[in-house]
């Protein structure tokens, strides 16, 4: 089954079980390095800037953004879709690799899931902020009320969106948190600090590690995993329907749901790679997150990149093949050429061309290249969403309505704020939660090791 000679051990360095616990819990016990404090400072500052931008938005109105009566969705929706996409990685990692019995996921899934949670929280901010009357946001809940009763519009993709994101957030948080229980209990048992003992004790929900606990834990993982697997596909398909249901040229396409899901996984994996490259270098976890892991992610990325490239070409082909002049205009004169060429070609280069570097083994095993490619994918995916949201709206059916769109400082602030929020979340995660799933790692420590042969 597992050919050690070709693929090497999953965990290098012939670790004992005790060593694993020790090495992974260690960052929680020692004071973080200066880099952490600086990074935390920057992230907090960005988050505060975002907080200010949000305050201005809520206090003065969405008028403080760059959106207008033609391009009514701008950066905020771009960011929303982008974050939701990133938020796919964790669950996709855990679930798809779980289903595919890819056991190498154990080194990565915890961090990826954490990232998912912060990304989805960041994402969820945007649709709420984007409401003109955020104080009436509860109108979007379908609940029996005294206003008629007035129900929500079940036909609206935004309502589906709301449902899907809420469900996804709940499931990913549960999946992530419940998966952490054994590890939290380990910290509880190991730590000397009373405060930590109490806190970790509270959050470990009385985990004792009895076999009954383990059985329940395993079955819960499978149940949640099963639900989440559906959600990974559904969330971004539904986000895609926000556009696909619309009649705007460049939006109204049936390719969108699968295209969005693949794109989401693409950006999510890229973000996972960015974080992993950093974590394994900073925390010297190269024995756990091995070059083979990075190699595997890189292979997935190059594969998805091909799908993305095909999707872009398909969109353009269909625009031409449909004979629809509005579609033709959007693709050929507002994206490929026209005012938004930088965004379009940036997207093509970042998403379809640069990842092709991963055909080379050297690139897949060089952290600098990994970082470069993963970051450019993240940029490319942002540009892709920009292309979809802004270019279609800026020049649609009636030329009299054509406008150009530029974001304001508040738009930038809100985006910076979510980046900060994400950063703060990830940094706190690194500091207070075991970055790798200790218990699961222990389950795969033998795979590919000589002792097993």
């Amino acid at each position: 089954m597992y050919n050690r000679k070709i693929r090497g051990p999953l965990i290098e360095g012939n670790k004992t079980l005790g060593q694993i616990t020790e090495e992974i819990i260690n960052p929680l016990d020692v004071r973080p390095g200066l880099w952490w404090t600086i990074a935390f400072g920057i992230a907090s500052a960005a988050a505060l800037f975002g907080g200010y931008a949000i305050y201005i938005t809520v206090n003065k109105g969405i008028g403080t953004w760059g959106v207008n009566n033609s391009v009514a969705w701008g950066w905020e929706i771009v960011n929303f879709v982008w974050w939701i996409g990133i938020g796919h990685a964790g669950t996709a990692f855990s679930i798809f690799l779980l289903i595919l019995r890819q056991r190498w996921r154990t080194s990565i899934n915890r961090a990826a899931e954490a990232m998912t949670v912060f990304a989805v929280i960041s994402a969820a901010l945007f649709p709420a902020l984007h409401m003109g009357r955020i104080w009436l946001a509860f109108y979007i809940f379908p609940y029996p009320n005294t206003r008629g009763p007035l129900w929500v519009n079940f036909n609206s993709p935004l309502f589906w969106d709301f449902t899907a994101i809420t469900a996804y957030l709940l499931i990913s948080v549960s999946f992530w948190y419940l998966g952490m229980l054994p590890d939290l209990a380990t910290i509880r048992d190991k730590t000397a600090s009373r405060l930590r003992k109490t806190l970790y004790g509270f959050f470990s929900l009385g985990w004792t590690g009895s076999s009954r606990h383990w059985i329940r834990y395993e079955s819960l993982s499978f149940i949640l995993g099963g639900i989440a697997a559906v959600l990974v596909v559904s969330v971004h398909s539904i986000v895609a329907t926000d556009f696909a249901v619309g009649i705007e040229p460049g939006w109204h396409t049936t390719i969108f749901p699968p295209f969005f899901v693949v794109g989401a996984i693409f950006s999510g994996f890229a973000m996972v790679m960015t974080l992993m490259v950093l974590i394994r270098r900073i925390y010297k976890l190269t024995d756990y997150i091995t070059d083979n892991h990075m190699d595997a992610i890189a292979r997935i990325l190059v594969f998805i990149s091909l799908i993305m490239g095909t999707a872009y070409l398909t969109e353009i082909f269909i625009a031409w093949y449909s004979g629809n002049q509005y579609e033709m205009f959007t693709f050929f004169r507002n994206r490929i050429t026209g005012d938004y060429t930088i965004q379009f070609w940036g997207m093509i280069v970042c998403n379809a061309l640069i990842p092709q570097l991963f055909w080379f083994r050297k690139m897949r095993r060089n952290w600098k290249w990994l970082l470069f490619v993963s970051l450019s994918i993240n940029v490319g995916m942002w540009l892709e969403r920009y292309n979809i949201v802004v270019t279609s709206l800026s020049k649609d059916f009636l030329p009299s309505n054509w406008v150009s769109y530029t974001p304001t400082i508040i738009d930038i602030g809100v985006f910076a704020g979510t980046l900060g929020l994400f950063g703060v979340g990830v940094l706190l995660f690194m500091r207070y939660i075991p970055m790798l799933a200790i218990s699961e790692l222990k389950g795969v420590v033998h795979i590919g090791n000589k002792t097993e042969d």
Partner: protein
Amino acid sequence: MKTDRKNPKESENLARGENENTSESNNNRLLDLFEVDFVRQGTSRRDFLKVLGFSFASAAVLASCKRPVLKALPYIIQPPELTPGQALYYASSYYDGHEYSGILVKTRDGRPIKIEGNALCSFNKEGTTARVQASVLSLYDDARLKSPTEDNLPVSWEIIDKKITSELTRINSTGGEIVLLTSSILSPSTAKLINEFGARFKNFKWVQYDAISYSAVLEANSICFGRQVIPDYHFRNTSVVVSINADFLGTWVSPVHFIPDYISRRKPDNEEKDMLLHIHFESGMSLTGANADIRKKIKPSEEKILLIDLYNKIAEKTGGEIFPGVPYREDLSELAGNLIESKGKAIVLSGTNNVDIQIIVNGINLLLGSYTECIDLNNSLNIASGIDSNMENLVNELNNGTVNALIMYNVNPVYDYPDSNKFLAGIKKTELTINMTVSLNETVGRCKYECPVHHYLELWDDSEIIPGQLSLSQPCINPIFDTRSFQDSLLKWTGKSTPYHNYLISNWEKTYYPHSAFSDFRKFWNESLGNGIFSYKVPERNSFNFNKEGLNKVMKSSSNVLSNGYEIIISESVSLGTGLHANNPWLMELPDPISRQCWENVAAVSLTDAKKLGLQMGSLVKIADGLILPAFIQPGQTEGTISVSLGYGHTNSGPVCKNIGVNMYPFVRISERNKMYGFSIDKPDNTLKRKQLALTQEHYSMEGRPIVRETVLSKYKKDPSSGNEFHKEFESTHKTLYPDVKYDGFRWGLSIDLNSCVGCNSCVIACQAENNIPVVGKNEVIRRRIMHWIKIDRYYSDNPDNPLVYFQPLVCQHCDNAPCENVCPVSATNHSSEGLNQMTYNRCVGTKYCINNCPYKVRRFNWYRYTNNKAFDFNTASDLGKMVLNPDVTVRERGVVEKCSLCVQRIQEKKLQAKLENRRLKDYEIKTACMQACPSGAIVFGNLNDRNSKVSRLFTDPRKYALLEELHTLPSVGYLTKIRNDEKLNT
């Protein structure tokens, strides 16, 4: 504290006759909850819910912001004619010294809130212009003068009257000259009063002065026909119109009067399928040029050559005298041929304020036999009577110190007299200066006495726009400020105690009552006042004689020098007019119909010149000293010319127009006794700086999309559906899986005839006034957030150097298959059982998804709070300005989407009225605001379920199509194709 609570309760209970004790004990029990002891007692398990509820409630109360208490006071004595919630209409007239309309004033609870055209007034019928529509807002302008002042200090009317009377008497006793300077006076009673007032003085002079002058027309007619009048132009009787620099559909003389006449001959759906051929020569692009069949570019200096050549060409064929002249650069024989062919049915017009040009035009019209079928000197238009040289003489006299008293009414020479410094120097040399005006302007504060006058909605007056066609003005609200009408002031200073109201009535009794068929004056008066109008037949004057001397003189002396440099054309702005109403935020934010730009005046340059000078949109270009304007690249602008509009650049005014744009009046020159609205320079300088323009439309091409569909007359004659081929094609592809929606009762529809729409913008302001649409200011317009529910898109096609122009009013299309409706997550926008796409503001949370999914992009978002917000200090920020709001239409909150409702409040009102009267609704009974204001009748609203309604018939017209019908949105708004006249071109 308890007794405090009890008192009202007691009386309430006594009134209801209830047992006091029971309710008292209940109250006490309830109040126990608030006792201090209760809190100290500690909470038991049973009280938990009580305490929880109380704390939540109090937290909620404390946390929620206090809402301001607004009080509405009821009438103590209800006026019998007033039903709360029902509008009252008063017939009145609008005249501001420049523009006239017979109007109806809609008042609600004693407040005028909307102006409609008076259908009984044959001058303008129901049509109104944007400025007339917006005039109601000027009533509630905080920049209005609020009390009389002496040396800029407030005084009472008694004191000011005493002082003025004694000074006038003193000046008169020494034989000093007293001059009354007014805008053109249309009112016969006022004119009579002025003459009476003047008769008391030994040395009195009355000068009428117009900021935008028609002096040349008046003088030319005086020279040629001995009548100092502006004739009426009967476009309905014409077959060919050749106009030169006369924007008679936009600004010249009286567009509201000309548009319906002109449009009646532009509709080829008559038996002969015949329409007027319109050829227009102009320098800058105007509404008239945009609507003409053929538009030719000329430089202002070429106009005379053109006219002389045209005269000669026509004279050649009709046997008139030929004068020597330089031939025009183009062959005009074809044009002359067209005109001669329609002899007796042709008009040649020029809008240039130059006597020579007007005399030649008169000569041409005489050759063409246009008098009096097409050009009517008898039923002349009294719209303006100022003679430029009179004002010039007055200013000279003022400077010579020969004038002792100057009384000004409704004029602003400091702003609009070309040499305002000379005028100012003049009034400093005058002993007594009195200024009477409505609002703060540049002249205010320059005189000793300010006697602010009423807004026109606060006063009594009459007007005689055409001899024998009278209309009355009546006050529709008590004077808001301590003002007094001009006429009342004159009466006071004449020493009469009668109010002008009585003077007016007695004048009518004496002068007009004998012309009526009524036996009782009271009845006559009531009837006239109710209708707002009265007309009688003025005895025809003798047929005119053409005095050829004037023409001979002009033709022989004509030597015209062509300039090689740039010629600047100063023209009236369609939105602001003379600039009198510049402080009106509605008008300030009204985009120019051609440039689609607002909040500023721009220098329109041609594409070629822009390239030559390296100008881009908004490049600041220096035209003359002190004249730096942002460039606007205008397709169709004549090369070597720059057009700039008047009305901007106020320095002492209300906040809206203060320091907005550049005042062009100082650049008007006085040459050959007439004001010349233009000058020439060698070359403008590009300052290499740029400014962002408040454009409401940036892209001018239709990109080959079938948005405005058009055809030419020759094709239309063969096939009325020509140009509309797509309609059939798209209709045939409409397939749906869903069953057709049935509309049982009404199904509202709107038809817009693109052939009738001249693009005058009247509907835009009518809609704004009707639907409480906020003004957002220049920065927000730049950010493309203008709120207008109806906008008139302007497209160009063909050659960008002289393009064909299209106007397309765009409103919510009320699609039966509306893309906006299914995407709203909270169902805030939905479809009514009568086919309306409705917006429920209360429910809207502002996701803006509907805006994105509307292919027409007619939905508007409230990006900020536009009411009670000092950041948007326009009419909705103050209590005074908010008086104009229509109580039938919700004022939208920040964060909600809004759009055209097809005036659902008007639909409901008329439906209810019909129901109360137990009858069916009549066609044309419900009129949307845009339809009612439209002078050309391009917009028709009605019930599509009624086969006989006008709108249904228009919907079955072969010219009808729906905008973007290929999207299968099934709009309830239909457009009719545009038709251009291509016939008679090759004769």
